[in-house]
Amino acid sequence: MRIHRRRGVSALATIASLALLVTACGGDDDDDGENSGKVTITVEGWRPGDEQGTIDAVKTQAEAFMKENPDIVVEPVEWEWSAETFATQLAGGTLPTTFRVPFTDTKGLAERQQIADVTEYVEALPYSAEFNPSVLEAAKGTDGKIYGLPTDVYGVGLHYNRALFEEAGLDPDSPPTTWDEVRSDAKAIADSTGQAGYVQMTSNNTGGWMLTTLTYALGGRMQSEDGTESTVDNDATAEGLQMLHDMRWSDASMGKNTNFEWGTVNEAFAAGKVGMYMSGSDVYNALVTTNQVDPDSYGLAVLPLGDSGETGILGGGSVSAVSAKATPEEAEAAVAWNDFYREKKNYDPDAAVADAEVLQASDQPIGTPTLPIFDEATWQGVQDAVQPFWNVPRDQMSSFTDGVFEQALIPEPSSHTQEVYAILDSVVQKVLTDENADIEALLGDANDKAQQLLDAS
């Protein structure tokens, strides 16, 4: 064989493989042709693992929206919020134009200029003046501008296992109403059943989140309202930590495992290892779809509040935000889509019924307690319309649904929320793993660190 022919073949082979490599690196091209002149937006459509019914439902809604708005093209895509990958997705351009982010992250995202300022588009909506102010506050950045539409709202409640209650000789229809009762019920459960009576999240920033919830329930605050002064070492937090310490070490009612965060505590609860824990009132959805909890053993109680100070519950939810890389036209289209797809069912009973029908078709839980985004009357109207579709054990949640409206909804600390939570994680972990932890010293130290953070900005 001639050398030069072999060389030619080898050269051709490598050029071909290089070409393949280069095309693999390339992204999708926009198809301009038929969509020129229209605004195209990609939207969060469904989560990984969602059923075909859910996917079809979103696409149907997208078609309906596009009919009403012929100059907008909506492409639903698969997406899930993940704090750790969000920034890189944004940088890499794989973020949809609009997506939902938790309340607790909204201010941080706004500060880092990762979501777009959509104040003018939100204020153009007909109901913009009717938002519940504390709910709208969660969708605002620290500069007071609006960064999205608040579309789901929940309050923190006390989830409890009815089966464990019965086994311990407690009445599952009378969940605890004070923190002393929580403590004694936890002890009863631990003594009779051997499972942890009460558990609280401690890691991945959820420790700080839950400690803040406990603080609010006992009447304290973690920061001054303007976010310039840290008050982590307040009496309510100290009282809460002391209670946790006593439950863990004197009563032995918190079990031996203390490393929990949002997902793992749900797992443990669904597996029947936990008697009571605090989390958002919407967690039942996850318990059913992800953890296969037994609906008969699930109960939701309103969070016990303390006697002194300005008590209340920590509120949470999702904000439908817009990517910082969106053009103004895309941002406007995104807000219109969010209004149509996510917000309408919160104020329009017909839209709520249509949404419930879709959920019913794909066997999703309907009726998990939420809180009003607008005023109570609007909320009630929607609830009444959807009631025939409810498939969650609402009477096992009556303590919450009856009592939550009497509780003040307090927003999370506004300044450096997640970083403060991370500092508090350490405090809670220490109290639960070291019997001789000095709570006062820990809180003083944490307050210094938190204050440094607040001063730095």
Binding site: T14, L21, L90, A91, R112, Q114, N205, S426, K430
Partner: protein, 312 residues
């Protein structure tokens, strides 16, 4: 015998390659095949390293243009109290891994090399943990390490009358627990390496030692170890560099807890970059990575200098 003149070379057009001097001409083939590897390494290894250098002197959120901040990131990292904790924990992990994890593969290999039959089976069993995906292994062991008396390990300890151990829940137990799993997962690979090295030890040395009246321990100490000294030095530095970069076990087992007792340097890098929820401090993360890389490079240099005399 006649000498025939070589057949006349057929004429052909000289291609571009043919016009190069011979040495270059011979290199064209290999270089052309190297290009894909160079491209892949360049894109995924070398360019990111260059980018880390750049990002470590910048403040960026990956979206808006980055601003140059000089050595601020390095200063911020050095002033972080968590850095001290992380370095201490990493050193503790490395020491524990040295004490627990370094002798185990060697001991296993020595024992296995003495076994007559089914040596292949033992090698397979030793290597099996290495084959299990690391994340799966960690999650499995996390389940075993349940601190309740009903946890798997606590139940087994209960059979011999030992109390339930808090494992991952207690700051003093957490790191040893991590090291045990890490040893189990990685020992197999090193066992195979040692087995290969042990095969090269000349049997006459063992016979000579036996003649001199050496028992098993003496044989191992005086014959086996000196002979595999070279390999042992290599695996030692590899282990040190590997344990200095431990991330998976602290991240999946305890996420740095309880109370930062298992926070290692690389986990701190991860937390700087990703855990402040919304795109954290890439500048600090890359600054710390570079400092770690520099420290390990210096360590390796010193190590090879010092051990040059000892290895063959």
């Amino acid at each position: 015998m006649t000498v025939t003149a070589p057949a006349p070379r057929p004429t052909r057009r000289r291609s571009l390659v043919d016009r190069l001097p011979r040495r270059l001409r011979n290199a064209v083939g290999p270089v052309v095949f190297l290009i894909p590897m160079l491209v892949v390494f360049g894109l995924f290894s070398w360019w990111p390293i260059v980018r880390s250098f750049i990002m470590s002197v910048q403040q960026t959120n990956l979206v808006t243009p980055a601003e140059f901040v000089g050595l601020d990131n390095f200063r911020a990292v050095l002033e972080d109290p968590l850095l001290g904790t992380a370095v201490q924990n990493t050193l503790w992990f490395a020491v524990l891994a040295l004490v627990i994890g370094y002798p185990v593969p060697l001991a296993l290999a020595v024992i296995m090399s003495d076994v007559r039959r089914a040596r292949g089976l033992y090698a397979l069993l030793a290597y099996l943990p290495v084959v299990i995906p690391p994340a799966v292994a960690v999650l499995l062991w996390k389940f075993f390490y349940d601190a309740e008396p009903t946890g798997v390990f606590n139940t087994i300890l209960g059979w011999v009358g030992l109390g339930p151990v808090p494992w991952l829940e207690d700051p003093s137990w957490a790191m040893p627990a991590l090291v045990m799993e890490a040893t189990w997962a990685a020992a197999g690979g090193t066992v195979i390496i040692y087995l290969a090295a042990l095969v090269t030890v000349r049997p006459e040395l063992y016979d000579a030692a036996e003649v001199d009246g050496a028992g098993i321990w003496a044989k191992v100490w005086h014959v086996t170890l000196p002979q595999v000294r070279g390999i042992m030095l290599i695996t030692l530095i590899l282990q040190i560099i590997g344990t200095a970069q431990v991330f998976l076990e602290p991240y999946l087992f305890t996420d740095g807890g309880p109370d930062n007792a298992t926070l290692t340097v690389l986990l701190l890098v991860y937390k700087y970059a990703f855990q402040n929820t919304t795109g954290g401090d890439y500048g600090k993360a890359t600054a710390l990575s570079l400092m770690l890389a520099a420290a390990l490079a210096v360590l390796s240099l010193i190590y090879f200098r010092v051990t040059r005399r000892w290895s063959d």
